[in-house]
Structures are given as C-alpha cells and as structure tokens.
Symmetry: C2
DNA sequence: ATTCATTTGTTCTTTATTTCACAATCCTTA
DNA sequence: TAAGGATTGTGAAATAAAGAACAAATGAAT
C-alpha cells in the first residue's frame, strides 16, 4: 500500500498542502503549477511534485494541478472527510485557549470532552465542551476517540497519558515539556514551545555569526 | 566555527538535552551515560554522542558525562546564560495563555511587552505584562528584543510580522496557521497545531494499516 | 600495580531526503 | 491538425542524518 512507501517527511507536509489548497479553492483558483504552489508554501517545486507522485499521477503535464481535485484527494488521504473526535486533558490556561479555538471545527476535528482533576472545573462547560473528572476517563471505552490533547502540568503528563491509553486512546498531542514513555502501539506528537523558542534563539545567533564571518 | 558544522538536526535536539539535564541536576544526579540519557530522551545513544562530539570532547571515557558541566555548557551554547527578551503580538486566547505561563521565566526568556489592536486590551496588564498599541511597536527601536511571538489571526500575521521586522526584530515564533513571507535575514519557526493534529491522525491510521496487513 | 568492565569519540555503513535534469505528455492557439 | 510552450513525473546524483561497530581511554576493584 501507499502507506508503506510514503516517506515520513512527505506525510508531514500533507497538512500544509491541504490547508493551502483550501485557501486557493476558497479564492476561486481552479488550477496551480507546482512552482507557484511551491512559492506559497515555501517548498521547492521538485519536492512538491515528488511528494504528490507517491500517490500516483495527480496532475496533468503542461497544465498543473486541479485545486479542487487535489484538495479533495488530500482531504481523504488525511481522513478529513470524516469527523475526528478527540478529548482534552487539563483545562488550564492552554487547555482553555484550545477549547475556545475554532480550528477544530474548521478541520473536521472536534474536542468532544475535557477532563481535569480540579473540582472547581469538573461539571462546568468551557466553550460548549463539558469538563469531566479523571475517573470518568478511566471508566470510559474510548474506541471512537482518535486522540487525546495533553495540557496538564509536566509532572502529571505521564500519568494522564496512561489513563487515556488504558481507556483505549492511542494518539497523543502532548503540550507538556516532558517526554512520554508509552508502549509501541501509542503514537505521540510533541508540541514543545520551550524547545521551539530556544531553537529559534540558537539559530538567530548562529545566522548572525555566519554573516559576520 | 562550530556554527557551520553543527547539523540542523543536532541543533534542534539541544534544547531537549538541556531541559533533561536541568532535571537530572535538580534530582541530584551527578553523572550519566549516553545510553541512560538516550532512554530518557528517547534518542539513540550513538546519536547523542555524535551530537555532543560536534562541540568537542564533553564526556570522559569509561565514566560518561558530568551532568552539571554538560548542563552549563548547553546553557551557554543555547544563550540561556543571558536574558532573552521577546514581545508578543495578539493578546487573544492563545496569547493570554502564553503570557500567563511561566516557561519564559524558567528559561531565561521573558515577554517584556505585548501588542494588540483591540482598544479594550491596550493599556491593560496581562499577568504583569503591559499591552501596547501596534503603533508603538512600529515606532520602537527593538534591537534588544530577540524575537516576536505571533498569536494574531492568520489574516493579520503577515502584517504584524512586517511591523515587527520594521522595528528591528528578526526572529519569529509564529502560531498562526499561515506561511509568512519575510526577507532572508528573518528567521521563522512555525508552531502549527492544525498541522500537528492532522499529521497525528494520518500516522495513527497508517500505523493501523501496517499492523493489519 | 594490574586487570577488567565501562563508555566515549569516531570511522564507516546504511538509510532518508532533497535536488537536478530531462524525456514524455498535455494544453493552447493558430 | 500541427507546432510551440508549459509542466509534470521520475530516474539518477547529491546531501543529510542515523546507526553499527570498535579502538582508545578511563575508572573501579583487587
Ligand atoms: N500556558 C501556556 O501558554 C503553555 C505554553 C507552553 C507549554 N505549556 C504546557 O502546557 C501544560 C499546561 O499549561 P497551563 O499553563 O495550561 O497550566 P495550568 O496550570 O493553567 O493548567 C493545568 C491544568 O491541568 C489540571 N491538572 C493537573 N493535574 C492533572 C491531572 N493529573 N489530570 C488532569 N488534569 C490535571 C489542572 O487542574 C489545570 O486545570 C503545562 O505542561 C505547560 O508546561 C503551556
Ligand atoms: N487559541 C488556540 O488555542 C489556538 C490554537 C492553534 C492556533 N491558534 C492560532 O493562534 C492565533 C490566535 O488565536 P486566538 O485563539 O488567540 O485568537 P483570538 O481571536 O482570541 O486572539 C487574536 C488577538 O489578536 C488581536 N489582533 C487582531 N488583529 C491584530 C493585528 N493586526 N495586530 C495585532 N493584534 C491583532 C486581536 O485583538 C486578539 O486579541 C490564530 O492565528 C489561531 O489560528 C490558536
């Protein structure tokens, strides 16, 4: 199957391609060449053509790509043609911001439940999403939930992830600054803002050195 | 200089190494081997030794690495021995969460000012940080500011980045789901949660396929 | 002091990703 | 319908990153 031959680097670019195509279609563009598309996403046009080629011939020589067709193809490929249900654990500053955000609705992903340990938060609704106690997470059978968003303090992240895993969740988007230790069948993506900020500062300082020397 | 030979992939791992060493030192561990360290950060021990070797001989054969020494070394290498001042543009849900967060204090990085267009927010303080009007950003000389955190709506991100750039800021941590078009001397890191979530869903579905087939 | 176990630093190999270059193909227009 | 221009899809080459293997060096134990 395609899944075995699509490089990881390619797969990680697909969401960006998808979003950019959504914008093009919304703006009424019906066709685009790999070079124009490359300028938009700031990726070399060869890389884009090769990325698409892993899925077969999606374009037409001498013409380019049909935006609507390509968008629909990526929508299916990224499983965005069905609703993806996720939960959120840790309704603090960051968790509340995520609950208030609408990117989940725009992209066929929805936070269906939130969980916390704070009695003051349990039972309330944040932006329409109910907050439950952690016990209810452990008790539930979550086979229809694709992933858990972790926005708990670092010290509690491992414990929270294990509870979600025990309830049947295998996917994690971890915002805590800590490495999770989970079995092989779990899949974690780590959004680590401390790391990003430090990497930014490192590269800024080093690009200066390169220019001065 | 080292800056020209350190691979990008290595540089991006340094913040994770640094944070993990901080924890080890805090827990009283004085030494660690590359293999033990590798388990902690979930990276192959060879990769870790190779990463460190770009900076010279940081360990001792038959002994391992001195945690305090290595931590101090990375602290300097990552410019965490001096205060890094940043600004934040867009005091909305996400911006407020970031302002409330303390990761900036822990890591010698500080949001010194915030900017917004909303008259209701201008002049207020969020978690001790003053909110200014965008005009004041344009007027300022920001040579002592290393970076701007962008938490404005996607449609306003380019404009906000250009204003910051005009005031002398070259580094950007962009949380908006849009690609920024900036000159070469600017450096952008993109934290894109929509992309992360879609990539997570993609890999989850594909790891299932691999197992079933 | 000598032996032995440990662990680094590094060379060499393998794998992954990007980029080059161009024939094949399709659109467009006259 | 034929010619010319545009643009894809893809092998082959180049670059980057990760991993295996091991000699060299050190620490610890006796
Ligand atoms: N706020 C930010 O902007 C920001 C930025 C970067 C990283 N982070 C990380 O995101 C995480 C959350 O940050 P925050 O600022 O929202 O913190 P917060 O303290 O505001 O919120 C944490 C929430 O988790 C809940 N919680 C604590 N232990 C729990 C447990 N065992 N199970 C379930 N819920 C539990 C708390 O009741 C609280 O509601 C932290 O790991 C932080 O480092 C936050
Ligand atoms: N909230 C989240 O959890 C979340 C998650 C992922 C991505 N994002 C992205 O982060 C960005 C901010 O999200 P949010 O939920 O905080 O939105 P928000 O609407 O709550 O906040 C946006 C803020 O930016 C200000 N603003 C608008 N135009 C501006 C301009 N030209 N200059 C300066 N300030 C301006 C607004 O006044 C507002 O305070 C968006 O791009 C969003 O897609 C947010």
């Amino acid at each position: 199957m395609a899944s075995q031959t699509v490089p990881q680097a390619t797969a990680e670019r697909l969401p960006l391609y998808y979003r950019t195509l959504q914008q093009l279609v919304a703006n009424g563009k019906t066709r685009i060449s790999s070079s124009k598309f490359g300028e938009l996403v700031q990726i070399d046009s060869t890389t884009i053509r090769k990325d698409f080629s892993y899925f077969g011939a999606l374009g037409r020589k001498g013409y380019g790509y049909d935006t609507q067709y390509l968008m629909d193809f990526l929508k299916k490929t990224l499983y965005q043609d069905e609703l993806n249900r996720v939960i959120l654990i840790g309704v603090g500053h960051l968790g509340t911001a995520l609950l208030n955000h609408n990117f989940l609705k725009n992209n066929n992903t929805q936070i269906v439940r939130a969980y916390d340990v704070d009695p003051k938060k349990i039972g309330t609704k944040v932006s329409g999403t109910k907050v439950f106690a952690m016990d209810e997470l452990a008790a539930n059978d979550h086979h229809e939930i694709v992933a858990a968003i972790l926005t708990v303090p670092a010290a509690q992240a491992q414990e929270a992830a294990e509870k979600a895993l025990a309830s049947g969740i295998r996917g994690f988007l971890n915002f805590s600054p800590t490495t999770l230790n989970l079995p092989e069948n779990a899949y974690v993506r780590h959004v680590d803002m401390t790391v990003e900020l430090q990497a930014l500062i490192y590269f800024l300082n080093h690009s200066m050195e390169t220019k001065n020397s």
